[in-house]
Amino acid sequence: MDTFIQQIFNGLTVGSVYSLFALGLTLVYGILHIPNFAHGALYMVGGYITLMMMTHAGLHYVLAIFISVIVVGLLAVLMERVVFYPLRNTPPLQDKIAAIGIMLFLEALIQFIWGAEYRSMPTPFGRVVEFLGITVTTQRILIIAAAVIIMLLLYLFLKKTMTGAAIIAMSQNREGAFLSGINANKTAMLTFFISGALAAVASSISAPINLVFPGMGHLVILKAFVIIIIGGMGSIPGAIIGGYILGFSESLGAAFISNDYKDLIAFILLIMILTLRPKGLFAREVQ
């Protein structure tokens, strides 16, 4: 029973990271219909910036995350301007390939600057506490708390502000949004900024329990795609729920099936879903 509770807690931790990360991916997909394969690279860069701010500049963890969020957010905007914007009217093949190009470029760049070795990230939240009968580090509690707070803030932003409403409107109906005078360029840039920022937070809070290395975004981006297919491409609640579904299935699968193959769970889930429903789990038929 203890393992079970422990694994539920782990699932909650991992799921929080997945949800945060998948949120950015789904926002961008909802607005620009780009499956942004480079989103994983943003995650990776986010981890590195935070780490380097701490080890090289000696900043506090929280401050380092803050800088990382800004930098990666701007990097995402740059990506949109330089690559995706010029490709907006080309066949769908092109932007996918370009996105993969960005991903591998950023990985090579980071490796060029900081090397290929695996690094661990120190954290001021390393204390171990007893909690509901299980032992956890405060870092894991931080992950869950931070994720929930950020998701709430994002929700409030999207629902209660004009800019947020514009993002929602554009993701639901692009042409309609243009007609009602939404500045599409600004909205797209803002969406990319948010997606980059979320990726940076996700990697910075999870890095202390994982490792930082140039390929750290690969598995995460693949899983995020699985998540947004589960939750419906472009759906915000779907990304959150999907993230936690995957988090729980993985941590339970690791404990009760096989730790070696736990990374396969996501893909088996995906293959099952797309086999049964080729357009995704919550796809609506469109006219």
């Binding site: 609506r284 038929e285 469109v286 006219q287």
Partner: protein, 253 residues
């Protein structure tokens, strides 16, 4: 020739086509009109099999084709064009139209690799059929030009030629006259009449009322997915329900 009974299509909560009974007579030009969003294109999509209907039945030459896929309805002799032409812009007009005969050929990958007699014969047939269709649509002179170099109106005719190359019994044209000038519109009307005289039944969606009224033998009017009127052009002109739909009844009229 083609008959729908209670044909219905729902998208989520929206009913795009609502319980439509309709018959298309052989050898006639039938027009479907109605305000934007009335479900006209969806009606076409249901007949050609692009969308499975949510309810109702479709019969073609007394055969139930309700659940057939588009490629199957095409083989039975139902052709259609789209509002946007979707042609292969980097290929020539002839290359684009040739593929229309593909459904009457049997060559597979082995025929291609071994360049069999059958493939050669069928490619020749496809070329001939394509020329025939180009001649019919007055495009022989443009056969070797790239589609990307054509005018909008020529592209539309190429799309029609492609549909004709499938040797259809009935052709569905989705707004063939949209975006072309009055003179060309008149020629298009002539072309449709020629199709009929060649034994091809024509059904079109069109917004240009003048064209519809001068050309169509029968007209069906859709509004919010429902059939609100059906009859000859004269009957339609004087129909109260139609007038209401066009003059403020419909939200997007």
């Amino acid at each position: 020739m083609l008959r729908t009974i209670g044909l219905t299509k729902k998208f989520g909560g929206l009913t795009a086509v609502d319980n439509v009974d309709f018959t298309i007579e052989k050898g006639m030009i039938t027009a479907i009109i109605g305000p934007n969003g009335a479900g006209k294109s969806t009606f076409f999509n249901l007949i050609s099999g692009l969308h499975p209907p949510s309810g109702g039945k479709i019969f073609f030459n007394n055969r139930d084709i309700t659940s057939l896929k588009p490629y199957q309805t095409a083989r039975l002799g139902i052709a259609r064009t789209f509002q946007t032409t979707h042609l292969f812009e980097q290929a020539t007009v002839l290359e684009n139209v040739m593929i229309g005969h593909r459904l009457r050929t049997k060559s597979g990958i082995w025929d291609a690799v071994f360049k069999t007699k059958r493939l050669k014969r069928e490619e020749k047939a496809a070329r001939e059929k394509a020329y025939e269709a180009l001649e019919f649509t007055g495009l022989v002179g443009t056969a070797d030009r790239l589609v990307s170099d054509l005018s909008q109106e020529e592209k539309k005719r190429t799309a029609i030629a492609l549909a004709l190359a499938t040797e259809p019994q009935i052709i569905f044209l989705d707004e063939p006259a949209a975006g072309i000038n009055p003179e060309e519109t008149e020629k298009l009307g002539q072309l449709m009449k020629q199709m009929v005289s060649k034994g091809i039944t024509v059904c079109l969606i069109e917004h240009k009322m003048q064209l519809v009224m001068s050309l169509a033998d029968r007209i069906m009017v859709l509004n919010h997915g429902k059939k609100i009127a059906e009859g000859t052009p004269d009957e339609i002109k004087n129909d109260d329900a139609v007038i209401r739909a066009y003059l403020g009844g419909g939200k997007s009229a």
